[in-house]
Structures are given as C-alpha cells and as structure tokens.
C-alpha cells in the first residue's frame, strides 16, 4: 500500500520534471500559472479549509508580497529571491494587523470584511499610496531572479522554480497538518465549542493560520513579481481572490490533493476552452453552481483523519 503511493509520487515527479521538455513554451507557461495558483490555493486552504475562515481577499496579501519585492528591488536593487522572507513578513504582518480585531467575527461577516480589505488594498495601490506603488501603472523593471548567479529568464526555468516551491509547500503543509498545530485546527474546524472546551485557544490558532496563509501568499507574490517584471494593481483584483477561493472549494477544502486538482482544473481547463473565449466565464459560473449542488465537499474532499493510539505491547498480545 505504502509502496504504491510512493511509486505514484515518483511517477508524478518524473512526469512533472519531464514536462517542459515535451511541451511548448505556451503550455509551460500555463503550467507555471497552475503551479503558482496551486501554492496560492494551498496557502488559502490553510485559512479556509483548515481554520474554517472565509477569506475572499487573499489577493491583498499576494499583492503586498509582490509590491514589497517590487519596491525594494527597483529602489535598492536587492536580488528578488533574497526578498522572499521579507515579502512573507510584510504580508504576514499586514494580515496580523487586520485579522487581529476581526478574527472573532462569524463566517460571512469575515468574508465581507476580507473582500473590503482586498478592495481597500487595490484602491490604495491605484492611488499610489505613500508615493511608492506607482499608481495605476504599477512598477516595472523588476529584476529577474538569480540562483547562484544563474538568471532565471525563460518560462522553462521558471517552471522548475515554481514547481520546486510548490513541492516544498506541499511537504511543509503535510507536516503542518499532522503537527500539534494542524490537529488543533482540525479539531476547531470540526467542533469549535468542543475544541475550546478541551483547552484549545481557538482565536489564537485561527489567527496563526490566517497569518501563515497570508505570509505564504506574500511569497508567491514575490515570485509573481519576478516572473512578470511588471506588476500593477490590476493583477490583484477581487477576481483573483475569487479564483483562489473557488479552486480551494471546488477541489476540496482542507485536502492538499484536492487543492492541487482544483488549481489544475480552474487555471488549466479554461485554456483548453480558449475557443469559447467569451462564454468561458459563464460556463465557469454554471460549473461552480453545479459542483456545489452535486458534490458539496469538492472533487477530492478531505478524508476524516484516523489516529491510532500507540498500544502497549501486552494489550496486543492479549488479543485472541
């Protein structure tokens, strides 16, 4: 059993690693987008899926990470990838600042506040807040990322950067899911009252999940800025937040494979339907409704977790 999943992972890795060699540049770029949205989805999944907080303003944190990288890089010429932790820090701090007073609000209120925050951030960026965001035109001339002096430029090169980042994300999140922190989140999502009764500080864990998710989105923002070399407020519209939210819910909130599949479907599939151009979004909307009606938990819903207590050896032997 264990072996089969191991082979599956190995096969998946080989296919992914070989993909840029087979596909043309356009499709590699589509896969790059899939990868980035997968990471964004996973970071949002921590907030929506694990902590159960409706966040429809995730693009705000993504934007802050991107702008942090863009501003510091274009003004002080600090290499973009060095700014990864800083992007995470600013996005995380911002999330902490806004989430602290509202974390206790019930689901849909939080949802509407996050929408509001997303819009405020976008409007602030357009209005050239503090005179550093470049207004509606945004910031251009961001440097390409470098790894040991090797400049990442072509989509094929970005592909490896992004998917490596995605793999690291999946690995860390899987560890997190089974940690004390992850178990606490799982508990409070299943039954908040009971969790609180068992001594879990629910507000603290929710806030932590929110901040970590936001910080992670900030790092994706950094990579986005490096990939595009131009960023403008348009890239961080409400629509982006909806896309991230939808891919989490459609794929299966709380489940890592689900979110990955969601990213593939939501970002990848529309590319196949480019022919329909205009009708694409309408079809997308219908699909969202249909999906919720016929498969409420998403395509690959999170499986209930089973934990085995370590049994004392004597008890095992005593079994008939």
């Amino acid at each position: 059993m264990m072996d089969r999943t191991k082979y599956l992972y190995l096969a998946g890795t080989v296919v992914l690693a070989a993909a840029p060699a087979v596909l043309n540049t356009y499709w590699v770029d589509v896969l790059n987008n899939v990868g980035m949205y997968a990471i964004l989805g996973l970071s949002l999944n921590l907030i929506v899926g694990h902590a159960g907080l409706f966040n429809l303003g995730h693009a705000a944190f993504y934007a802050i990470g991107a702008y942090t990288a863009a501003i510091l890089n274009s003004h002080f010429h600090i290499p973009v990838l060095w700014l990864l932790p800083l992007s995470a820090l600013t996005a995380g701090l911002f999330a902490l600042m806004i989430a602290r007073p509202i974390i206790h609000l019930r689901g849909d209120y939080l949802c509407i506040v996050t929408i509001g925050v997303g819009e405020i951030v976008r409007i602030a960026l357009i209005n050239n807040v503090f005179g550093i965001t470049g207004g509606a035109n945004g910031i251009f001339g961001i440097d390409r990322p470098q790894i040991f002096g090797w400049v990442i430029r072509r989509p094929q090169e970005f592909y490896y950067l992004i998917w490596l980042f995605l793999m690291v994300t999946v690995f860390l999140l899987q560890r997190l899911e089974n940690s004390r922190f992850g178990r606490a989140l799982n508990y409070l999502r299943e039954d908040e009252t009971a969790a609180e009764g068992s001594g879990i500080h629910t507000a603290h864990y929710k806030l932590m999940a929110f901040v970590i998710g936001a910080a992670w989105a900030g790092m994706v923002g950094n990579i986005f800025a490096a990939k595009m070399t131009i960023i403008s407020p348009e890239s961080f519209s409400f629509w982006e937040s909806v896309l991230m939210f939808t891919l989490v819910i459609l794929g299966g909130s709380g489940s890592i494979p689900g979110v990955l599949l969601g990213a593939l479907l939501i970002i990848g599939l529309p590319e196949l339907f480019r022919g329909f151009a205009n009708a694409r979004m309408a079809i997308f909307g219908v699909a969202m409704v249909a999906m919720m009606i016929f498969r409420t938990g998403g395509i690959l819903p999170a499986r209930p977790r089973t934990y085995r207590l370590p049994q004392p050896a004597a008890a095992v032997e005593a079994k008939p």
């Binding site: 609000l105 507000a203 309408a282 969202m288 409704v289």
Partner: protein
C-alpha cells in the same frame, strides 16, 4: 453651502438606490443566512432589461414621461423578480441543507454566470440610457438648484421602502416573513410555509434590486455589465451598517452610506471614494458588529 447641499441631495438619491438593493440582501440574509452574491447582478439585469423595454416598447411616447417610466419600472420589477425566483430554485434550494460555505460558492458562481450572461447578450461596452427620458427640469429651492430626477429618485425609493415596511409589519404574509427570519423551525411548526416565504423573499428582493438598476440607468445615463459588483458590495455594506437582517436598518444604512460617500468624495478625496465605504464597513464590524439598528448579534467566539 452650495456644494454641501448638492452633495447632500446627490448622496440621498444614491443612498436611496443603495437602500433598495440592500433590502434584497438583508431580506435573504434574514431568512436564509446567506449572502446572495448574485443580487448585485440581478440589479444589473434590471438595468439592462429596463433599457431593452424602453427602446423596444417606446413606453414614454405612449404614456407620457411620468407614467411611461412608472410602467417601465413595474415591468422591470416583474421580470427581475422572475429571474430571482428562478435563481433561488436552481442555485440555492438544492443547497439549503448543505454547509453554508457551499451556498456561498454557489452564490458566487451564480453571480459570475449572470454578469457574463448579460455580457454575452448585450456586449461588454457601456450602454446609454436615453437622456430625454424625464424632462430636464431644475427646481429652485431658496436659490439652490435641485434637478428633478434627483428628487424623483429619492421619492420613488422612499415610497417603495415605506410600502415594503408596511407590508412586512402589517400584513399576515409580512408577519410570516418576520417569523421565518427569527426561527425557521418554529415558524414551520406554526404552520407557516417556509418555502413560500423564501420564494416570496426572492421575488421582492430582486424586484427592488431591478428597479434600482433602472434608477441608476436614468440617474447616471450609462450602464455596464460589471456595475452590479460595485453596487452590490456597497449595498451589502449598507445592509451591515444598518444591521443585517433588519429591514429598517437597510433603509437607514443605505441613505447614510450614500451621504457619507458623497461627502467623502467631495471633501476628502474622490480617488478614495470607493475605499470609504469599506473602511466604514470594517470600522462598524469592529466597534459594533450588530450594525446601527441591528438586533442580530454577530457571534463572538
């Protein structure tokens, strides 16, 4: 003084429109505890249907400007109400027992579908309402100029809000709606057909939203398929400002938001106009989550 007066009346007119849309949100939220994200798009549909009716039936030529516009508004209300009922049947009823997150996603999907359906049918460009719809009369109030359109829009929204308030407070059906909003299970036990109440809410709310769409068309002269999103969000803010689930709250919240926004745009900065509404929203939710008139308590955990 002049500017203040103009901004005040303008804010009240826009606030009346916000209030009409906010009523749809607040009524649906009251009964179903669902943020009907597609409500803003019903408003857009109202604006577009109004335009189509206007150009195809030439109502104002036959009935004169005043009754023509009234007939137009009534027809738009009826049609959008049907769309609203259909939306409830297709996108929300199957999800009534599901987790709330699913219903929210379904609402988002419906919103995306509706706005894009409008785009497919009418095209992505701005559409223009005929400018000679209502006679361009300016009232003179102690030396202050007041366009007639502004007065009519505010008056019409106040009339509709009063009618709705009386309907909810004084009639049997209105009582049933209030009962279903307080406790659906208990209402059912008292012999109230909750399904019908929900259907009714999805007829009244969209009807008011639809007529608000026509008003925006007349007031601003141009409409676009994405406008439902902005207006919807503002109106939802208004509903929260007044206390969601609370019908008079939505009215007060709408008017207040309209005035605050107009003043903010005039005296603070027009570029930040859209952000003002959201800042208020966040401040309200932090300081007073129940809204100004709200009885419903945002769960504190």
């Amino acid at each position: 003084m002049e500017q203040f007066f103009q901004q005040l009346t303008n804010g009240l007119a826009v606030g009346g429109i916000y209030a009409l849309i906010a009523l749809g949100y607040t009524m649906v939220y009251g009964v179903l505890k669902l943020i009907n994200f597609a409500h803003g798009d019903l408003f857009t549909i109202g604006a577009y249907l109004g335009l189509t009716l206007l150009t195809s039936l030439s109502l104002t030529d036959r009935l004169g400007p005043f009754w023509g516009v009234v007939a137009l508004a009534a027809m738009a209300m009826g049609l959008v109400a049907l769309v609203g009922a259909l939306l409830e049947r297709v996108a929300y009823r199957p999800l009534r027992e599901s987790p709330r997150l699913s219903a929210v996603v379904s609402a988002l999907g419906a919103s995306i579908f509706l706005s894009n359906a409008v785009m497919l049918m009418y095209g992505a460009r701005f559409h223009v309402y005929p400018q000679d719809l209502l006679p361009k009369i300016t009232l003179d109030l102690f030396g202050l100029q007041l366009p007639l359109v502004r007065v009519l829009i505010l008056a019409a929204s106040l009339v509709m809000m009063t009618a709705l308030y009386l309907f909810i407070q004084k009639t049997r059906i209105g009582t049933a709606i209030r009962a279903a909003a307080i406790d659906q299970g208990a209402a059912r036990l008292m012999g109230i057909d909750v399904d019908r109440v929900i259907l009714l809410v999805f007829l009244i709310g969209p009807a008011l939203g639809g007529v608000a769409g026509v008003m925006v068309g007349i007031y601003y002269g141009q409409i676009n398929f994405t406008m439902g999103w902005t207006y919807g969000l503002k109106a939802f803010t208004a509903a929260i400002l007044g206390g969601i689930g609370n019908i008079p709250g939505a009215m007060v919240g709408g008017l207040l938001l309209g005035v605050i926004e107009a003043m903010g745009a005039a005296y603070i900065s027009i570029a930040w106009k859209d952000a003002i509404a959201f800042c208020i929203l966040i401040a309200i939710l932090i300081v007073r989550p129940t809204g100004l008139l709200g009885e419903r308590v945002a769960e504190k955990v």
